[in-house]
């Protein structure tokens, strides 16, 4: 069954339960102990409550069951929305120099990197773990991920095609929504051996110039 439909049905069942569960003790109280006086008074959701009899029993059971069922509701919401909720940050960047003047150089935006604190990426000794937004249909995200080791090189994770996702180098777990790699992801250096310069080919800095 589709996740969304299952989630809606579960939500409906939950709201029905919210209504029916408190009804049971209140009917029992009404039937078995018709002369017992149950009183409920106080404030509930901003409303002042002052009731008695079976309705008071209903209210009391409702308050108790709300707490008990709230966790179930959270689980149902998780089923309906399999991906972690994502937020879009929308804005425009402006580059300024040290004196506050606007720098108009669109090429610089190609170098833009965004980091988060706390980081969504954790890496230690080459082991990486990070989260990315999924596709709206619940399938793995169709994205090309670039891993850039500054000053060294770059590697890519290709999730853009179905063929890439069914490759032997990765295991896609649709239940846990994880993509795990069997083999190391290669980060290749940008400098090829033939392109390397010897140290003598570098320019020599001018000591104290421009100071």
């Amino acid at each position: 069954m589709d996740r969304e439909i299952a989630g809606i049905m579960l939500s409906f069942a939950l709201y029905l339960t919210y209504f029916l569960i408190p009804l049971v003790p209140s009917i029992l109280i009404y039937k078995i102990f018709p002369n017992t006086s149950v009183v409920a008074s106080g404030s509930f959701s901003g409303l002042k409550i002052n009731s008695s009899g079976a309705f008071a029993a209903y209210l009391i059971t409702l308050v108790i069951s709300i707490n008990a069922l709230s966790e179930t509701e959270a689980r149902i919401l998780e089923i309906r929305n399999p991906n972690e909720p994502t937020w879009s940050i929308i804005g425009t960047l402006e580059l300024r120099d040290g004196e506050g003047n606007v720098i108009n150089n669109p090429m610089l935006f190609d170098l833009l990197e965004i980091s988060l604190e706390p980081r969504v990426l954790s890496s230690a000794n080459g082991d990486i773990h990070f989260k990315i937004p999924g596709s709206p249909d619940g399938s793995p995200p169709k994205r090309m991920i670039t891993l850039d080791v500054k000053g060294f090189g770059r590697g890519k994770i290709n999730l853009t095609s179905e063929a890439a996702l069914t490759g032997s180098d990765m295991v896609v777990n649709y239940q846990n929504r994880t993509i795990e790699f069997n083999e190391p992801i290669e980060i290749t250096t940008l400098t090829q051996p033939g392109q390397r310069y010897s140290e003598t080919s570098y320019m020599t800095p001018v000591t104290g110039a421009g100071q």
Binding site: G153, L190, Y197, M203, P205, A209
Partner: protein, 105 residues
């Protein structure tokens, strides 16, 4: 009309003299000692005038370590890397000029 031609000639001659500079910034890998392109390096071109040093162009290198500075007039300049490493360079009267790479430690 004569003045316009004169101005045009000056403009054309100025454009002809402008040079497109190109170069690369490298960095040494701290563990292997290998040399790699330095991404994110700040490359500034500074000219010294009667009014003191003037910033002509600023560029931030990409992952290939390359920097490009279009339409630079011939003359003597200082190429400043990461705001501390200075190199004296001479921009020549030619359409394109490749500078020798620089190494930041």
């Amino acid at each position: 009309m004569k003045n316009m031609v004169f101005v045009l000639l000056i403009l054309v001659s100025e454009l002809a003299m402008a040079t497109n500079l190109r170069g690369r910034v490298d960095i040494r890998h701290p563990y292997t000692g290998d040399l790699f392109p330095a991404s994110g390096a700040t490359v500034e071109l500074i000219v010294f005038t009667n009014f003191g040093p003037q910033l002509v162009y600023t560029y931030f290198t990409g992952s290939d370590g390359m920097y490009y500075m279009p339409n630079i007039m011939p003359g003597n300049y200082i190429l400043r890397i990461n705001q501390y490493l200075d190199y004296q360079i001479q921009v020549l009267n030619m359409p394109y000029q490749d500078l020798r790479p620089v190494l930041v430690q």
